[in-house]
């Protein structure tokens, strides 16, 4: 009888998660161009992986992904945490401000990207016009410069994600017992000591959760990159996700693309395991 209760969810999980996942893993070991149909699938063993490891474009894309996630995740989390700490106190218009900061998270990413395209236009964008007004004669090219495109995307995604992180941190902050702060204060702990021993430790499970989900999100980051720069200029913003898209959707090398996806997923899994291990014993309740 118990099976009947889990059946609807189980069917959905099997059809839409398990089977595609296993199929993706299987395709990584094949040469397949989709157009040939299922009969055109050729098993090639580890050939896609050995080609990948010898492909300098793959390593370059991996490096960019590490930069994208390595800078983007902490920046988003730090921004979210600072906002949450500010909005957790007595601030005028707190509810409105929470909505304002959360707003980019609920806006369609294409609309969001379009606004930034206008703001960061190298010659007529508000940002560069402002920089020129204060005497910077040669402002950055932002999204159209190989030197700054990826950094700019990191800043935009971090800005867009901060609101969500802020809301999650806020709810966690409100779950920390005030008695602990009062007790620490009575024991003579200063502001920083109270933050480090009470607040930060109280936030540890939430921080871990956000670090994991944000890392997964960044490792899969595609939409804004595709819209804002299409992996360019050159390939300066081609992360693993976009690299995978190129090989799958543009070159029809689905086996190769699936191999990229599998390696990317394994990397993310390893990072998730690391985060999980790292937070153990460091929180208030762990």
């Amino acid at each position: 009888m118990g099976w009947l209760f889990v059946l609807p969810n189980l069917v959905g999980f099997v059809c839409f998660t398990l089977v595609p996942l296993l199929a993706g893993i299987g395709i990584a070991f094949t040469d397949w161009n989709v157009v040939s149909g299922l009969s055109g699938i050729t098993f090639v063993g580890f050939a896609n992986f050995t080609s990948l490891l010898a492909d300098p474009q793959f390593w370059a894309a991996l490096g960019r992904t590490l930069l994208y996630a390595g800078l983007g995740v902490p920046l988003t989390m730090l921004g979210g945490l600072v906002l949450a700490l500010l909005l957790n106190g007595p601030v005028f218009g707190r509810s409105v401000l929470r909505l304002v900061f959360f707003f980019p998270h609920i806006v369609n990413s294409i609309a969001l990207g379009f606004v930034w395209l206008l703001l960061l236009h190298p010659t007529s964008g508000v940002v560069n016009l402002g920089l020129q007004a204060v005497g910077i004669s040669d402002p950055p090219g932002w999204l159209v410069s190989q030197q700054t495109a990826l950094i700019t995307i990191i800043l935009i995604t971090s800005w867009a994600g901060m609101g969500f992180h802020c809301v999650i941190f806020l709810s966690a902050l409100q779950g920390i017992p005030t008695e602990l702060h009062e007790a620490a204060q009575l024991d003579g702990a200063n502001r920083w000591q109270r933050f480090w021993t009470v607040t930060w430790r109280g936030l540890m499970p939430t921080t871990t959760f956000l670090a994991i989900t944000s890392t997964i999100g960044h490792s899969q980051g595609f939409g804004l990159i595709a819209f804002l720069t299409a992996g360019g200029p050159g390939d300066s913003s081609t992360t693993l996700s976009y690299f995978m898209y190129q090989h799958g959707f543009q070159y029809y090398q689905f086996g190769y693309a699936a191999a990229v996806g599998l390696l990317s997923a394994l990397g993310t899994l390893a990072l998730t395991a690391f985060f999980w291990w790292f937070q153990k014993g460091r929180g208030l309740y762990t």
Binding site: N33, V35, S36, P233, G234, Y252
Partner: protein, 448 residues
């Protein structure tokens, strides 16, 4: 099956225009002829339903064409499905075709995509049918002037469009500079005029006209019959250096702006907003020139033929065949599908030309009628109509038909990447040649 076709061809549009016969695009001037299909499913009368997938929005012609076919053949039902002709749209079509979605007729918009489908057995060999149809036998293998893409000597599609590139010119800017244009011009003359028209915040052109394609013709990116890339040919470096020079002289839009405003996709906006004086482009731009509500502008657009290398004209013209109609190998209605393909080819032009597509088969329609259909009503308000007629139909073009598509998508991606880098100033032209040759050769080798 190899992607390299056996025939390398050149053919003239007049060759295409001629021969559509009584059933041809005389319809443009009001003749509503029936294709009178034979061998239908019941006693010579066609019946049945077809699923047709194409990339042109239905309202730009295909819906009217399908309706006309249904009216001409009562008992038939055509459902036109639009797929977006981009990476994901093409993948959607490919997965649908290979997955068994009941598609009867599909249209490919790039030879690379077409050959991908052909080489995987998704299209029917139309060679015999084309040979047996007087109006279309020019597209069959073995024709005097090859006018189609072939794979292993067979035709798996038929091109519905022969699209010339022309130059759109802002008439007001031309007059302001006191420049008078003749009936034709060379590449060097065009580039000189572009420089002359630059200044006061206006760029002479979107980009200077290059010489590589006009010089090398079909398969220009390949050498040694497709075994190697051809980017070490000095003409590519010369073209790229010219683009850099134009950018530096502010005679062409700088690449930063092109990327920031996605102008490679939305070229019409810079022309119609008066930021560039001239725009070499395919003719789909006419749709936007006519659309004064969305693109308000107060100048007349003049057309000039695409520049040539020599005054008397070149071996190759800047004209491309496209909109290749194929019948799905899995279609259960292949007879009806073929009749529909014939109808599209022979009578479809009048429905599609208003959407900015010059039909490959125009039958008896005169250049004046074709131009009128292309530019629409009240054309005189925004177009120099006569100049369009001359630019589009004044001279018989020799169309370079590509035959090699090895790693074409990969090469295009590499080309864009390195060209962007040069135009953004982070790579030299010499380094471009070296990197392009190395990477394109590697892509070709990997694809074999």
């Amino acid at each position: 099956m190899s992607n390299a076709a056996e025939l390398t061809g050149k053919f003239g549009r007049r060759g295409l225009l001629a021969g559509a016969g009584v059933a041809g695009l005389a319809a443009l001037v009001g003749c509503n002829s029936n294709t009178a299909p034979s061998g239908g499913s019941s006693g010579g009368k066609l019946t049945g339903a077809l699923q047709v997938w194409g990339g042109v929005p239905g309202e730009n012609g295909p819906d009217a064409l399908c309706k006309a076919f249904e009216e001409a053949n009562p008992g038939t039902k055509i459902t036109y499905t639009r797929y977006v002709n981009d990476d994901t749209g093409n993948l959607k079509l490919d997965t649908s075709l290979s997955g068994g979605t009941p598609i009867d007729v599909f249209i490919s918009y790039s030879p690379a995509n077409l050959f991908k489908r052909v080489s995987n057995g998704l299209a029917v060999d139309l060679s015999e049918k084309l040979s047996a149809t007087p109006e279309l036998k020019k597209y069959a293998p073995g024709a005097d002037q090859p006018a189609n893409f072939f794979s292993d000597g067979k035709a798996f599609s038929v091109p519905a469009q022969a699209s010339p590139s022309i130059v759109f010119v802002n008439q007001s800017m031309l007059e302001k500079k006191g420049i008078t244009l003749g009936d034709s011009w060379t590449v060097d003359e065009f580039n000189d005029i572009a420089k002359e028209m630059s200044g006061d915040g206006v760029f002479g052109t979107m980009a200077p006209v290059g010489k590589a394609h006009l010089t090398l013709g079909p398969d220009m990116n390949y050498a040694e019959g497709g075994k190697k890339s051809n980017f070490s040919n000095p003409i590519f470096a010369e073209d790229l250096q010219r683009r850099l020079d134009f950018q530096a002289a502010k005679a062409a839009i700088d690449q930063k702006t092109v990327l920031a405003e996605k102008l490679e996709t939305f070229t019409q906006s810079v022309f119609l907003s008066g930021r560039i004086a001239m725009l070499p482009s395919q003719i789909f731009i006419t749709r936007y020139v006519s659309n004064t509500a969305e693109y308000p502008h107060d100048f007349i657009t003049k057309a000039m033929p695409y520049p040539t290398l020599a005054k008397e004209g070149d071996k190759w013209s800047e004209v491309a065949i496209g909109d290749n109609l194929s019948i799905n190998a899995k279609s259960k209605n292949q007879e009806l599908a073929w009749e529909f393909v014939k109808f599209w080819m022979i009578e479809g032009g009048k429905y599609l030309i208003a959407g900015g597509r010059i039909p490959a088969v125009t039958g008896n329609a005169s250049p004046t009628e074709l131009t009128a259909s292309l530019l629409g009503k009240d054309a005189e308000k925004v177009f120099d109509v006569k100049s369009f007629e001359h630019a589009l139909f004044g001279k018989e073009p020799n169309v370079p038909v590509d035959t090699i598509f090895t790693a074409a998508s990969e090469i295009n991606t590499i080309l864009k990447k390195y060209t962007d880098e040069v135009l953004l100033g982070t790579r030299t032209v010499e380094s471009w040649v070296e990197a392009m040759t190395k990477d394109a050769d590697a892509a070709i080798a990997a694809a074999k």
